[in-house]
């Protein structure tokens, strides 16, 4: 996919030959996110699609109770302290950002009066400065007016390291200044093509200055509002029990007409995914359930009753295998898996390629995931002319055998290949999770036929994903030959996501294994393109670069992408939700309503 081809496509969208939605789908197919694609169109001066006015509510409130189930309940309601999405979702009921991402990657204004674009003078100096115009007449739940001061304060609050906010990375390198009561300027240190980070989506929720003002910095934990949120959102705070329940009631002064639909909202936590699915799909006790990590078979059986259905929302999460090119078993320079060492087999690209050929992604999709996963949609769903010749995947044991034969690995008497006295035995690790163990088994079966002995190792998730420096089994140490997990792409921009292959991010002893390059992939050319991409102002050029980087790691077999995992949510058949794969579930909560029963 070349830059020129992208430009041609964008032209097609401009002339109307290519529907906007198709363009975004194609970009997603290439490994870009919908918001990135949408920003590209915006830079080219193509207006955003008007989101379909799906909302059919005719008056505020009166819709009864909205009961939602989260098998991990929110533990805190301060959006900038959030430990994970569950906390962001809980906060999102009450707090709002300036804009959110819809499922097609459009920016939709919430507290902003309009989305800044180069055309309306909102994006200045090529994205170095962004001018946000705020909606007028918005009030906090306690009646105080919402102004630019609150935005400036949110920035000051979050960027102070003493406040210990998890969103600090979004705000620490920007400067926010007030122009007037309803206009702010967000200035970046350098021109930033993907500027929609601060005040946007999950990390952009604005908190009230008049309540958090006295608690900035080290006192941040003492703010009473941490537990009793006062926001601008569609529902007002009623009650909160950490880990158990969040209750809200209709905000009679909400700033959007006829919204919200429901009188009350409940977020109930605890339990497990299967019983959550049951409560929504089978008994209808609840209206909506988050993250149904349940086998598709089971979901289908529950849906049969007709009370609820599963919503499958495409997103950026991917289940993949990392191939270790360093030696995980022997210490070199005082550490296992040192970048200076070489893996006895995987340092040969042919062996890595053979390994990739042995991953039967299709069976994984068919027999394990069903509707809830797609065999690396990345390179499959594209029109033929975009498919890079080197990035297709196949499952082919004969070819793998031929490759390994060619690389000098001969089968021994026990059917296991060896070379130079070294047997082809690999340790393949992942976290304990029924689905993952099945995937491991599928790979092992194929590997056996190619003369590779895979030892399957599964580590308790709380150990595998911990950042415990003392533990040898964490995914960050990657002291195994192969490992598998899902990396989530919650950010709409690929920049941080693609840091995962930068050589200065290598996870090693020197950085206490906190580097993000877990598979310790080192490629000077990749670094060069990555550096160029981060300062590239032209979004189309930048997108082409990310596609190139994506192809590079896949063709080098540093990673083997397996399954693209959409989000799976459960909803009552009558509940109409507006879900986005690029933002929180509750990013458009104000638009949720219930269809009246027929007749």
């Amino acid at each position: 996919m070349q830059e020129s081809e992208l430009r041609a496509l964008i032209e097609d969208v401009r002339t109307g030959e290519l529907p906007r939605r198709r363009f975004i789908q194609q970009m997603v197919g290439l490994g870009l996110t919908a918001p990135m694609a949408s920003m590209m169109l915006m830079q080219a001066g193509i207006a955003q699609a008007q989101p379909a006015p799906a909302y059919k509510g005719t008056k505020r409130g009166g819709g009864g109770a909205l009961k939602t189930l989260w098998w991990q309940g929110p533990t805190l309601l301060q959006p900038h302290f959030a430990n994970g999405t569950k906390d962001q979702e809980g906060s999102r009921v009450f707090y709002e950002p300036l804009a959110v991402w819809d499922n097609d990657g459009n920016l939709v204004p919430i507290l902003a009066a309009e989305i800044p674009t180069p055309q309306n003078g909102g994006v200045l100096e090529g994205g170095k400065v962004v001018r946000w115009r705020l909606k007028k007449g918005v009030t906090w739940h306690d009646g105080k007016p919402f102004t630019a001061d609150d935005c400036v304060f949110t920035w000051e609050f979050v960027r102070d390291p003493a406040s210990a906010c998890v969103t600090i990375s979004v705000y620490k390198d920007v400067t926010v200044t007030k122009v007037d009561d309803h206009t702010i300027l967000v200035s970046f240190k350098k021109p930033t093509p993907f500027w929609a980070t601060a005040f946007v989506a999950a990390e952009g929720m604005v908190i009230p200055k008049h309540l958090f003002g006295p608690y900035a910095g080290a006192k941040s934990r003492d703010a009473p509002t941490n537990l009793k949120p006062v926001g601008t959102g569609p529902y007002k705070f009623v009650d909160f029990k950490p880990g158990d329940v969040v209750l809200g009631a209709v905000n009679k002064d909400y700033h959007m007409p006829n919204r919200p639909f429901f009188d009350t909202i409940e977020m109930k936590g605890g339990g497990d995914a299967t019983s959550a699915a049951r409560a929504v799909l089978q008994t209808g006790e609840y209206d909506y359930a988050w993250n149904l990590q349940v086998e598709d078979e089971v979901l289908k059986r529950m849906e049969a009753g007709g009370k609820g259905k599963a919503h499958i929302v495409p997103g950026g999460d991917i289940e993949f295998i990392q191939v270790n090119v360093t030696d995980p078993w022997n210490e070199v320079d005082g550490e296992r898996g040192s970048v200076k060492s070489k893996h006895f087999a995987f340092s040969d690209p042919k062996v890595r390629e053979a390994m990739a050929l042995l991953c039967d992604k299709k069976s994984m999709q068919e027999f394990i995931y069903g509707r809830t996963g797609f065999a690396t949609a990345n390179f499959m769903n594209n029109p033929e002319r975009f498919r890079s010749k080197n990035t297709k995947w196949e499952f082919n044991i004969e070819k793998a055998n031929a490759l390994l034969d060619g690389a000098g690995w001969k089968k021994g008497g026990d059917g296991i290949r060896e070379k130079g006295g070294k047997k082809m035995k690999f340790v393949f690790q992942t976290s304990i999770n029924g689905t993952r163990q099945k995937e491991q088994a599928i790979v092992k079966q194929a590997a056996q036929k190619a003369g590779i002995d895979l030892e399957l190792k599964s580590v308790s998730a709380s150990v595998f994903f911990s950042s415990d420096v003392a533990n040898p089994d964490t995914y960050q140490k990657f002291w195994a030959d192969l490992q598998m997990y899902t990396t989530t792409m919650t950010a709409p921009d690929a920049e941080r996501f693609m840091d995962q292959f930068k050589s200065d991010e290598v996870s090693q002893k020197a950085n206490k294994w906190s580097g993000r390059n877990i598979c310790r992939y080192v490629n000077p050319e990749y670094d060069k393109i990555n550096a160029a991409a981060s300062s590239e102002l032209d979004l189309v050029k930048r997108a082409a670069m990310y596609i190139q980087m994506n192809d590079m790691v896949v063709n080098d077999y540093a990673v083997i992408p397996l399954i693209s995992r959409p989000r799976v949510r459960g909803g009552n058949t009558k509940l109409v939700t507006t879900l986005s794969g690029w933002d929180l579930d509750f990013s458009a909560l104000h638009n949720w309503y219930r269809e009246s029963s027929p007749g």
């Binding site: 189930l69 533990t75 805190l76 301060q78 302290f81 430990n83 994970g84 390291p161 210990a164 998890v166 600090i168 990375s169 979004v170 990390e203 934990r221 941490n226 537990l227 009650d239 029990k241 950490p242 880990g243 158990d244 329940v245 209750l247 409940e266 109930k268 936590g269 605890g270 339990g271 497990d272 019983s275 049951r278 409560a279 089978q282 008994t283 006790e285 609840y286 709380s462 150990v463 994903f465 911990s466 950042s467 415990d468 533990n471 089994d473 960050q476 997990y485 990396t487 989530t488 792409m489 919650t490 950010a491 941080r496 996501f497 840091d499 995962q500 950085n511 906190s514 580097g515 993000r516």
Partner: protein, 319 residues
């Protein structure tokens, strides 16, 4: 008596200290850390995590952390949860009412089953009633609560659609409706826990009764011509219940501790689910506080059981 009490309390202090040391070291040595959820999120840079660890003092040596905790605890400060950044005592107090109600009700149910069934079985050993009761009791305590819980859900929630299986502590409404909804949602968890506990207590009551019923004084009472009812209730039950009272007193800490498995199945927001969530998220201050309070209660109820025992059985004296 007073001196005995004082001595017991003094002995309790070093054991509590010892318990806290063991708990703290085990927790500190256990793998995992409270911010692992952030590690997978590509938006949160590792520095944020490192900064939080530093702020919450997780990078200090274990002994420093222990003494910090101990000093704070002695001053009545239980610390705050790393995950929700809320004070631990608030978290525990928030969960206490539901725990006491649900677990308490199940214990009452267990007693209401165990006493009559156990007494009647022992009064007529190897009768049909005794055989059936014994069989049911064996079935009752052999079936784990997660199994009976799921069975009840399948039957009452999914097949019959009578009872809700998601427990909501925050039911709005008042009066009869409020009570009715609470009772409706409590039926299944209380049944599961009560039947399990009741089954084992039934066996216990029965054997305690059988120990007493064949003593000479019972025969004497019978030969005096007392009615069977009076013999059993006045002479046998009173004495047989002494060990049962001790047993019940010793299970009282459980009422506060909640029932982890059952609470998880029915989403009861009790102390058990608080504990398991804290363990899964490596939220050390919460785990520490809950387990420590439980050990205090175990020690306290041991003392109470001993005192009760002496009061019920005058032959025992305190020295």
């Amino acid at each position: 008596m007073g001196r005995y009490l004082l001595r017991r309390l003094l002995i309790a202090l070093p054991s509590l200290l010892g318990i806290s040391v063991v708990l703290f070291t085990v927790l500190a040595l256990a793998p995992g850390d409270p911010f692992s959820e952030m590690a997978l999120n590509s938006n949160v840079p590792p520095e944020v995590q490192a900064n939080l660890r530093r702020q919450f003092g997780l990078d200090d040596p274990i002994w420093q952390r222990y003494f910090r905790w101990l000093v704070a605890m002695l001053q009545g400060q239980w610390g705050f949860s790393f995950i929700s950044r809320v004070d631990v005592d608030k978290l525990i107090l928030g969960r206490l009412p539901v725990t006491l109600a649900v677990i308490g009700a199940s214990q009452v149910l267990a007693l209401m089953i165990a006493l009559p069934v156990g007494i009647y079985s022992a009064a007529r050993p190897y009768s049909w009633f005794d055989r059936i009761a014994s069989t049911l009791a064996f079935v009752g305590f052999s079936l784990p609560t997660f199994f009976t819980g799921l069975l009840l859900i399948l039957l009452f929630s999914i097949k019959l659609d009578w009872l809700p299986f998601v427990f909501r502590a925050d039911i709005s409404g008042s009066g009869w409706d409020w009570w009715w909804q609470h009772i409706k949602q409590s039926i299944m968890p209380v049944l599961v826990l009560g039947l399990f506990q009741g089954a084992s207590w039934t066996r216990y009551v029965r054997s305690a009764m059988l120990d007493v019923i064949r003593l000479d004084y019972v025969t004497t009472a019978r030969s005096k011509g007392l009615r069977e009812y009076a013999v059993i209730m006045k002479h046998v039950v009173r004495n047989a219940l002494i060990p049962v009272v001790t047993l019940v007193a010793l299970t009282m800490p459980q009422v506060f501790g909640g029932a982890i498995v059952t609470e998880q199945i029915f989403r009861v927001p009790g102390i058990g689910s608080l504990l398991i969530d804290a363990i899964l998220r490596n939220d050390t201050p919460v785990i520490m506080a809950v387990t420590f309070v439980l050990s205090c209660l175990v020690i306290l109820f041991n003392l109470i059981a001993d005192l009760l025992y002496g009061w019920l059985d005058p032959r025992i004296s305190y020295r």
